[in-house]
Amino acid sequence: MVALTALPLHVPAIEATVAAPQNGAVLTFVGVARCTPAFGERPVVGLDYEAYAPMALAELLRIHTELCTRWPGLRLAMVHRIGALTLGEPVVVVCVGTPHRALAYDASRAAIEELKARVPIWKKEIYADGSAWTSNRP
């Protein structure tokens, strides 16, 4: 399952999509809006995410297909929030369900790295006195 949404992310609902009787491991990565800026010293007071939505969804689906082909039996959910966020809110949730834990860690890490590298989403940090677009590659 993949999704982009402007609504707050409900983590347990996303985890529920990867449950399966033979799966002994569920690993959930939650990226959270935090106060620390990517650069400089101005505290972040909010975030604004913008997506090239149709391509972002297409790219999420491509990643999903690639990983589930590479690891048969993997259950994978990737959901990204867009729009304005307040601190502490989940930005992205990557949830995997697997028979064993080693695969869970490998697949989860691969999914979030691919998402950050490929899915066309942009982040603007909001400060008390301004804002700045920031990227995953300093």
Partner: protein
């Protein structure tokens, strides 16, 4: 040749619009289009045509949807 260009994030703000049909010379590559539409283009970008990543040397066709992708910030 006309292509639909969408602008996002910092490029949207610099261009002052989120999309527009742009007239380009026949045989233009996506890199050519970037130099033409977003001078001085110091920002390193990726390129997508019709929602798929392409190399800078890819030639555009009439009616393509072209997007310049500033450094990503998702996740």
């Amino acid at each position: 040749m006309r292509v639909l260009v969408r602008y996002f994030a910092v490029l949207r703000e610099r261009r002052g619009k989120s999309e527009g049909w742009e007239e380009l010379p026949e045989g233009s590559t996506v890199k050519d289009a970037y130099a033409l539409l977003c001078p001085p283009a110091q920002l390193p970008v990726g390129y997508a045509i019709n929602q798929d990543y392409v190399a800078g040397a890819t030639e555009l066709k009439e009616g393509d949807e072209l997007v310049f992708l500033p450094p990503l910030g998702g996740g």
